[in-house]
Symmetry: C2
Amino acid sequence: MEFKQVIVIRTDLKMQKGKTAAQASHASVEALEKTKIKFPEWVEEWKQTGTQKVVLKVSSEKELLELFESIKKEIPTALIRDAGRTQIASGSKTCIGIGPGPENLINKYTKNLKLL
Amino acid sequence: MEFKQVIVIRTDLKMQKGKTAAQASHASVEALEKTKIKFPEWVEEWKQTGTQKVVLKVSSEKELLELFESIKKEIPTALIRDAGRTQIASGSKTCIGIGPGPENLINKYTKNLKLL
């Protein structure tokens, strides 16, 4: 079984590269911490197979939240709100971090999303 | 004292937004794991003050490696090599993750770098 972590980022906020990287890093760290608590064995498998990370995109807050609400029932998922120091409104929901978890389980929810 | 984590990314590789986000996430996670081992009290302080992350840029591998070699003596720092699945040559050194650590200590090394 393959393991991966997926980060899903809103494109409609038009965040620049540095902002996007910072938000994605928040998502990666927070989803990993949640997964360590609930499925430490997934984290171990993921580390042993190269810590794959995939960055996907959605084009609205609605799409991000619908994905978050459905996937979090099966896989530890972190919703990131921006601290609002730069560029966008404070509290904006910018992205989610998913897992790491089994690739086939994550793909059930993300298979229609494109790479950022 | 303020705490932050800093990620420094090479611009000369011309990585796209998704690739940049994935590499930054690797740097963030790996630097955090290193810091937890060596300075767990820094990680705690950073978490209590909002887990600030700042993304900066350098324009060459040489600049990235010189920064890495000097800063790692004082602050846990992770050098990220790309797995090479997409876009750039396998093994390329793409970025570093620094800390989290005390802002004034990190700034000694990064104060001349610009935001990505």
